[in-house]
């Protein structure tokens, strides 16, 4: 069948109508009572995406998606049958379908008319897509605002009454929207009066400022308070101005700020020096140094920021602690060391340094924090303690040694003393029988005068034996008695003592004695002791020269002392024995019990003098007695 042509309004009288029809923004579609499309205007063409030719003659349900598509016939039939206008003469929002199948919202109004007895309908279609889109946007935005966790308020620019408040606002404050609509921002701001608030928002109203950001305190319905940060701007809409306020509850933030402030103050007032470095930068520079650090090191914060802490070590790098520190930093772990550091003025001090790494929440190293403490006093005290300890130990050792020596000496002395006492006792006892023998021998010698030569000789031997015994006994007794023997002081010339001594000993003819003693040399001493001393020296000298030799006795004044030297040409004394010979019971001779020289020395010291020996093996020995010289007027110098 040939395509029916649109019966379009013709020109002239219909030109205006045609013009209106063809330029209408809305789409106009005419259909018969069966729904067959008769005409469609250009707007409708572009709206649905068809040309008129494509649509003319087709059912209008083509332009409808299901379910309308299926039901439209029913609607028409319904109307034809019942005449009840459901849409006719009314408008309705429906969904249309384009040629490419896409749907769009549209507003449809339908009118009825008759042409040549044919009932016709005209549908007027308006595309609602844009409106829907903006509606959608509006809705979304509204949702966003409503659901925002921040509090968002709208309030009237003139009355200041709240117009809108989102859920966050309502819930935090505790007021319902109706309640809020009766309130102004001042009602929830305990710090502001109406006047103050008006003054505050003035710049916004006048257009001077676009936005105001300020902090305030809000009061909830339950009278509790919380800190807020307010972002306020004006909004003009449809010639009506209102304020838009976005509120941030900064209670948490303020709390954090406050505690941060406390921490900062703590850092600033700490007694320990505190350094913070930036570990993300090369060479770990200092970014913060507290006042205590300046007090300890002499460097101000400005002088140290940006540098690495090692400048405190000066050139003193050879410390084991530095290696430990370096290692800890390299391995990003904490450590505690004691270092020698140097102040700005160059003076050294002991720095007890505690270093800890600081990491970001995801474990990355961001800083090191070092806590310094000047422990010079402690170190000095410790060192002093160590030194004192060492010194004490040394002293204790020394004392112990001294004590041990003293003890040994004491034991020895005790032994000697006991021995001495014993010897003394024995000597005493022996004297009696010796005396008896002596008397008897004397008698026999007297009555034997012209008798047997052998008998006489025998008696002489007994006599000599007695002499020896008596000498030994005397020596023993002298030794035993010596410590308590009182001195009988007298002033006498040394020459007399020498003479006396020579008389006490009987020297064989093979020994030659030479003496040189200036006459005017006096000493103030126990004469008996000095004579016995000299006699002993002479005796010893004689016994060292069994083949004969010479003894020289020489006296001279040396300074304030009178020195008497007895020199022999005998066999001499070995160097290692030179001191030992003065010890009691030391003797290299067959006869005698070796008490003589120890007694001699005792006599010497008891008379404020000294007795020494020098010798050369094979050549001879010299015994030197030094005694304080007594001036001519009798006083000792």
């Amino acid at each position: 069948m040939s395509k029916p042509k649109q019966s379009l309004p013709t020109a002239t009288a219909d030109s205006r109508l045609y013009a209106i029809w063809s330029t209408a923004v809305e789409g106009i579609v005419t259909i018969d009572e069966r729904g067959k499309i008769e005409t469609i205007n250009p707007a409708g063409e572009s709206l649905f995406g068809y040309t008129a030719d494509e649509l003319t003659g087709r059912n209008v349900s083509t332009l409808m998606p299901s379910p309308y598509h299926d039901e439209h016939d029913g609607y028409l039939k319904n109307y034809r049958d019942t005449g009840v206008k459901k849409i006719i003469g009314i408008g309705r929002e429906v969904v249309g379908k384009r040629k490419d199948g896409t749907k769009f919202p549209m507003h449809l109004s339908v009118s009825e008319f008759r042409i040549a007895d044919k009932r016709m309908f005209a549908g007027f279609v308006r595309d609602l897509s844009e409106r829907e889109r903006s509606e959608e946007i509006e809705q979304r935005l509204g949702r966003i605002v409503e659901d925002s966790l921040n509090e968002i308020f709208l309030f009237d620019a003139e009355t200041l009454k709240f117009v809108q408040a989102n859920r966050g606002a309502r819930e935090n404050l505790g007021y319902s929207l109706d309640e809020l609509r009766g309130m102004t921002p001042v009602d929830i701001k305990p710090e502001y009066t109406q006047e103050q608030f008006a003054e505050l928002v003035g710049p916004l109203v006048s257009g001077q400022e676009d936005q105001l950001v300020f902090e305030a305190v809000h009061r909830r319905k339950d009278r509790s308070l919380y800190d807020v940060e307010i972002h306020l701007q004006m909004s003009r809409f449809q010639s009506k101005s209102c304020f838009v306020a976005i509120i941030l509850d900064i209670t948490e933030r303020n709390r954090t700020k406050a505690s941060l402030l406390v921490q900062q103050r703590a850092l600033e007032s700490a007694v320990n020096g505190i350094l913070i470095t930036d570990a993300t930068q090369a060479d770990n520079p200092i970014i913060y140094a507290n006042p205590a650090m300046e007090q300890i090191t002499g460097y101000s914060a400005e002088e140290v920021i940006g540098r690495n802490c090692r400048f405190l070590q000066n050139d003193d790098r050879e410390q084991a602690a530095i290696d430990e520190l370096r290692d800890a930093i390299k391995n990003e772990r904490k450590c505690k060391v004691v270092l020698r550091n140097y102040r700005k003025d160059g003076t050294p001090f002991w720095n007890s340094l505690s270093v800890s790494p600081v990491r970001s929440p995801d474990g990355v190293l961001t800083n090191f924090i070092g806590i310094q403490s000047d422990v010079t006093d402690r170190m000095v005290a410790e060192e002093a303690l160590v030194n004192m300890n060492a010194e004490l130990e040394q002293r204790v050792e020394e004392r112990t040694r001294q004590l041990q020596d003293a003890q040994t000496q004491l034991v020895r002395n005790e032994k000697l003393a006991t021995l001495g006492q014993l010897a003394g006792g024995v000597a005493h006892e022996i004297r009696n029988p010796l005396g008896v023998i002596r008397n008897a021998v004397y008698f026999l010698q007297q009555v034997q005068a012209d008798g047997d030569e052998d008998a006489a000789e025998a008696l002489k031997e007994i006599s000599r034996g007695l002499g020896n015994s008596e000498r030994i006994v005397s020596e023993l007794l002298d030794f035993a008695r010596a410590p308590e023997a009182p001195r009988e002081l007298s002033r006498f010339p040394i020459g007399e003592a020498i003479t006396g001594a020579l008389e006490m000993v009987s020297l064989p003819k093979s020994i030659n004695v030479a003496r040189s003693a200036p006459a005017e040399l006096f000493i103030n001493a126990d004469r008996g002791q000095i004579e016995r001393l000299l006699a002993n020296l002479l005796q010893n000298a004689a016994q060292a020269m069994t083949e004969g030799g010479s003894i020289t006795i020489r006296c001279q004044a040396i300074g304030e002392s009178l020195v008497t030297e007895v020199t022999d040409t005998g066999k001499g004394i070995a160097i290692e024995d030179l001191e030992k010979i003065f010890e009691p019971l030391f003797t290299k001779r067959a006869k005698g019990i070796g008490l003589g020289l120890s007694l001699c020395r005792r006599y010497a010291t008891q008379n404020d003098g000294t007795l020494k020996a020098t010798s050369e093996l094979g050549k001879g020995s010299t015994f030197s007695l030094s005694l304080p010289l007594a001036n001519k007027n009798g006083a000792t110098s």
Binding site: R431, N432, R438, N439, V447
Partner: protein, 243 residues
């Protein structure tokens, strides 16, 4: 000295061998010698035998030598005592008792004999005069002649010293200040019947006093000023006076 009788020496030692040994030696010298082995024995022997000299051991069980001598002295005032000891600590006490000497054991027999013979013929001299200068000068003169001299300026002093040494030859000034020398003479005689006293006087009118003294067997009288030579001779003679 015209003694025909031997001088008597008493040897006292608690060690019998010691005593007999010394006894033997002394007998060789010509003395008559008795021994005693204890202080007590010595006292008895001295009282009965009246020795001229005593050789006494100091340390003995029972009473010691000093105590024994103290007891012997009044009984035997003219005997000298020589102490012997092995212990030097006792020497000072002994000397204080008026011993002629203290010998240390073991004895030197020769020295001992020497000492005994000397002691037998020497006595200490006691000069009693209230004139201190006179005492000094006389003492000096006597000492120069080898005498052991003590001086006393009063009767009390003289008696004190004499008590310890009744052997002394006393040179007595008959006018002892306020006191009468004669009274002192009598006291001395009471202590020692054989006291040897040489009277001195500066007053010729003391003649009667002097004769009285002579009757009391004073040995001699001298008139001051003294002729030292004759004084010395007389004193030495007096020392040898036999009992």
């Amino acid at each position: 000295m015209t003694s025909e009788t031997l001088q008597r020496v008493l040897v006292v030692d608690d060690e019998p061998d010691m005593a007999s040994g010394i006894q033997r030696i002394l007998k060789l010298q010509g003395y008559e010698v008795h021994t005693a082995n204890s202080g007590e024995e010595a006292v008895l022997e001295a009282r009965d035998w009246q020795p001229d000299g005593i050789l006494m051991d100091l340390k003995m069980p029972g009473i010691d030598g000093v105590e024994a001598y103290r007891q012997i002295r009044p009984l035997c005032p003219n005997a000298f005592v020589i102490f012997m000891t092995a212990y030097s600590s006792l020497v000072d006490d002994a000397r204080g008792e008026g011993a002629a000497e203290v010998l240390t054991k073991p004895l030197d027999p020769e020295q001992t004999c020497e000492l005994i013979s000397q002691s037998l013929v020497t006595r200490p001299v006691l000069v009693v005069d209230d004139d201190a200068d006179f005492c000094k000068s006389l003492a000096r003169a006597l000492k120069a002649n080898g005498c052991l001299v003590q001086t006393a300026l009063s009767a009390e002093e003289a008696l004190d010293i004499y008590a310890k040494q009744p052997r002394s030859v006393v040179m007595l000034d008959m006018r002892l200040g306020e006191t009468n020398g004669f009274d002192l003479l009598r006291s001395l005689k009471e202590q020692n019947a054989k006291a040897i006293v040489i009277q001195m006087s500066g007053y010729s009118d003391m003649g009667s006093q002097m004769s009285k003294g002579m009757e009391l067997s004073a040995t001699a009288c001298f008139h001051k000023p003294l002729d030292i030579e004759s004084v010395i001779t007389t004193v030495k003679q007096a020392m040898r006076k036999p009992k």
